[in-house]
């Protein structure tokens, strides 16, 4: 029996899939509909200060004919009064006692305002609070959202106002628009937050219509930076999640966010330490129904890999993350092309020739051109196998036996011990000893 249930900083849900605080979690109607489809939790769209939205709110980039590789928005927090939201939250929670109902909050930076809204939130019966320190547009200009997330001291101060009175778990949602994501996470930890949600959206301009010269999105001819989300941001989010997960001070449960469209994306966040994952753009594109595949796909994967609960999976990939200086310089791989599978598109050739290290030859054969790797020159960069459109045609074959190891840190340490300077000559000597040829 596979158990998908999770506990993220004291907030429990039957599966790790939560709606992110965003347009899909705007109302009781939407959240209840999502729960019917199987979502394990929701982070109610941020409620707080009075706001008014504009048209248009979204911009997207398509990639090679695929819609929404990334989506940005200039939509603000909930534009519905606090009373209505609180009433709907209470009703929703009553209807769905087993699901996680987390409420995202954002009010002006005054202790009383925070105390007031936190109390009212607790009164709804919600399972947790998420502090929106991420919103990069519209709210930040008013001293809220990412204006808080970007200054660890503010982050700590406001979080303390909340945690000092909250009886339910408090997650702090971080903005990625900082130089080091760990700092605001540590501030949240110091202020006794229960967990960290990340990432919020990334500052962005989505593009320009080359016919009208209008920037996307355009509000009656004016535009601004917006928050970038969707599949394209996933690698950035994965990196930031891993940084927070690995930090020795933070040590808090993580709710992972950023470009999660399916169970595979979700798993990657979980493998890097996330307890729950939050989804927005994919739902905005395809609707709540996508969760069915997420639950099923994750379950089948766990069955296949022999895992029983997500506790066994969480953070499993983290130990691999290390400093470049600890990588084995003597690890050697070369590309090998399976001629039987090759379709002769020659993309590996041109990628290597123009974009890498010129070690694939194009040899005419039977009216085709055969691509052959000169293994002695191959640096094992992997570009050819990345561009190859045929699965399993180019593989990176390991040549070293793994017995010998010399990392950069070890090497430079050796130099130090031997009284050698780090020079090209000394480096060349080391390379020569191990038959490493640089072209």
């Amino acid at each position: 029996m596979i158990d998908l249930s999770i506990d993220c900083g004291g907030i429990k849900s039957p599966n790790p899939f939560w709606l992110a605080s965003a347009p899909p979690s705007n109302s009781a109607y939407q959240n209840c509909k999502a729960f019917e489809q199987g979502w394990g939790g929701t982070v109610w769209k941020t409620i707080g200060e009075p706001v008014m939205n504009v048209c248009n709110r979204y911009g997207s980039i398509d990639y090679n004919g695929q819609k929404i590789a990334g989506l940005n928005n200039i939509e603000l927090i909930s534009d519905r009064p606090i009373e209505i939201n609180m009433k709907e939250i209470a009703e929703t929670k009553k209807l769905w006692p087993d699901r996680a109902v987390v409420v995202s909050l954002m009010v002006e930076s005054k202790k009383e305002s925070w105390h007031d809204i936190v109390k009212r939130t607790i009164d709804t019966g919600a399972d947790g609070i998420e502090l929106n320190y991420g919103c990069p547009h519209g709210m930040s200009e008013r001293g809220m959202g990412s204006a808080v997330g970007q200054v660890p001291e503010y982050c700590k101060m406001i979080t303390e106002w909340v945690t000092e009175i909250s009886t339910i778990p408090v997650l702090v949602k971080l903005t990625p628009n900082v130089s080091n994501i760990v700092m605001p996470a540590r501030a949240a930890k110091a202020a006794k937050a229960s967990g960290i949600s990340l990432i919020n959206t990334i500052n962005s301009i989505m593009g320009i219509d080359l016919n009208t010269l209008k920037i996307k999105p355009s509000v009656a001819g004016k535009s601004s930076h917006g928050g970038f989300a969707g599949p394209a941001v996933k690698p950035i989010a994965l990196h930031m999640v891993s940084q927070v997960a690995l930090d020795k001070e933070v040590k808090l449960p993580i709710s992972g966010i950023g470009g999660i469209s399916n169970w595979q994306d979700a798993l990657e966040f979980i493998l890097l330490g996330a307890s729950s994952v939050q989804v927005c753009t994919a739902v905005m594109h395809y609707g709540f129904r996508i969760v069915k595949d997420m639950i099923e796909g994750l379950t089948f994967w766990m069955e296949e890999k022999g895992f029983h609960s997500l506790d066994e999976v969480r953070g499993k990939a983290l130990p691999q993350i290390d400093d470049f200086g600890n990588f084995n310089l003597l690890h050697k791989t070369v590309a090998r092309i399976d001629q039987a599978k090759c379709i002769h598109c020659n993309l590996c050739y041109i990628a290597c020739e123009d974009g890498a290290h010129q070690c694939i030859d194009l040899i005419p054969e039977n009216g085709h051109t055969k691509t052959i790797v000169r293994e002695s020159d191959c640096v094992g960069c992997d570009l050819c196998s990345i561009v190859c459109p045929v699965e399993g045609c180019i593989s990176m074959v390991r040549l070293d036996d793994g017995k010998e190891q010399k990392t950069w840190n070890e090497l430079t340490n050796d130099f130090k011990n031997e009284g050698k300077e780090l020079t090209w000559e000394n480096l060349g000597e080391f390379q020569k000893k191990y038959g490493i040829v640089i072209h």
Binding site: I343, C345, N346
Partner: protein, 450 residues
């Protein structure tokens, strides 16, 4: 003719001759263009007889550079619209697409090419090419088919004054007159003609060289001559009854259909098409689409020896054309009009010197099929009489002999290309010949200038 096929309604005709490969919408073209892997040194480009840089023009569609896409195509092929619609892409570019090896559908190169070229003509043929300054030399081109047009276009861009002599009233040769209307219409071919004319090429129509004007005179008027006259008459069956009313040759029939005055084309209720090449398929499917009840193709060899492409065979079968293989016509029966055709069953003997198995009559196997019309489609012969009148020009096996490097004939100022040198191939081959011959002519005239 006895028993004419019943006339159809104008809608039925249009429906029957509607395009079999409809154009891409903008979105679908971009989606398809994005599927292209952008191969390096690509097999599709090699498979195209004119060597269009296919991945380059496709990626330009994807990037929204449609004008650049059209330019890439036209640089290699002046019959770009006709080829996009009528090329046997399955055996050329699309057949070579690497996706075939991946067991995924090949990129629809023909339709993408059409998308780019359609857009070019729709935008009013914006200027993409600048002819060089006139060099004072002139070239006469005989025939305005794909070979002649390509030769003329290329030469005019090189700075030559070019005059095309066309026997027909409407130029374009087989592009205008010889392609099934569900593939291309006259208007398509005429767009290509207009493009070539925009480079300053003069087209004199209704001039039959050898009759309206002598070849000698024409040859004296110009510094060089290109012959792109295609082939001549359909080959006769040489069987009794061939003179009967209702026996027509495929080329004339197809030309009649190309006028797009569907209800004035005479077609019988029951039609027998003799021969199984791609022209036979056109004649058969067109008969069917004009309303013939029963259309059959008679071929004295078997399916394996048939020269029609597989996809043409499928097209004809889908149209309800019945194939009688190993069946040879012996005589056409009728008083003044065709009433039937007597055939004999054949079997295949040993391969002949060309490797084709020889059909042998099975004695006593004669049988008669009632038909109202017989279309002869067993090939075309060369215009030998005209060709033989040209001093120095050699004709072998019905083909004008040229130097494959520069398309020069035995007469040094006469060059040739297209069906008259290859015995009848695709439009794309003719377009390539014409282009290459232009450079052959340029080389010849530049050399003589030195």
């Amino acid at each position: 003719m006895n028993n004419l096929a019943a006339k159809l309604s104008p809608e039925q005709y249009e429906n029957n001759f509607a395009e079999i490969h409809p154009p891409f919408s903008h979105n679908s073209a971009v989606a398809e263009a994005n599927r292209c892997l952008y191969c390096y040194d690509s097999p599709c480009t090699k498979a195209c007889p004119t060597h269009i840089d296919i991945p380059a023009f496709i990626k330009k569609i994807a990037s929204g550079n449609l004008l650049g896409s059209a330019k890439t195509i036209l640089e290699s092929n002046w019959s770009a619209l006709t080829c996009a619609k009528a090329c046997p892409v399955q055996v050329l570019c699309e057949g070579a697409c690497v996706y075939n090896d991946k067991e995924e559908p090949a990129i629809q190169i023909g339709r993408l090419q059409r998308f780019a070229i359609d857009n070019y003509f729709k935008s009013g043929m914006p200027k993409l090419f600048s002819p060089k300054e006139k060099n004072g030399k002139s070239v006469g081109v005989i025939g305005s088919g794909p070979a002649g047009l390509a030769c003329a276009a290329e030469l005019s861009l090189l700075g030559y004054k070019v005059t095309i002599y066309e026997a027909n009233k409407i130029p374009g040769g087989l592009n205008t007159w010889g392609i099934a209307p569900y593939k291309t219409r006259q208007a398509d071919s005429l767009k290509e003609v207009e493009l070539v004319k925009s480079f300053g090429v003069e087209i004199k129509t209704e001039i039959l060289v050898g009759k309206t004007i002598s070849f000698e005179k024409l040859s004296k008027t110009h510094d060089a001559v290109f012959i792109g006259i295609g082939l001549g008459e359909s080959t006769n069956l040489k069987i009794p009854g061939e003179e009967l009313n209702g026996v027509v040759n495929a080329i004339d029939f197809i030309e009649e259909v190309k006028k797009e005055k569907w209800d004035s084309v005479k077609v019988g209720k029951r039609v027998a098409v003799i021969g199984a090449g791609n022209t036979s398929i056109d004649a058969a499917t067109e008969s069917k689409r004009l309303g013939a009840d029963e259309v059959m193709i008679l071929y004295r060899r078997s399916r394996e020896e048939m020269s029609a492409y597989d996809f043409e065979f499928e097209l004809a079968k889908n149209d309800g054309v019945i194939f009688h293989f190993l069946t040879a016509p012996k005589r056409i029966i009728g008083n003044s009009s065709v009433e039937g055709i007597e055939c004999t069953k054949m079997k295949l003997g040993e391969p002949d010197e060309k490797g084709k198995r020889k059909p042998i009559e099975i004695p006593g196997s004669e049988f008669v099929m009632p038909v109202d019309m017989v279309i002869k489609a067993i090939g075309q012969s060369a215009k030998t009489k005209f060709l033989n009148s040209i001093t120095g020009l050699q004709v072998e096996n019905g083909r004008v002999v040229v130097n494959p490097d520069n398309y020069q004939t035995g007469n040094e100022k006469v060059f040739a290309g297209g069906d008259c040198i290859n015995g009848g191939k695709e439009v794309v081959n003719a377009a390539y010949d014409g282009k290459m011959a232009a450079h052959g002519i340029d080389g010849y005239l530049n050399k003589t200038a030195l």
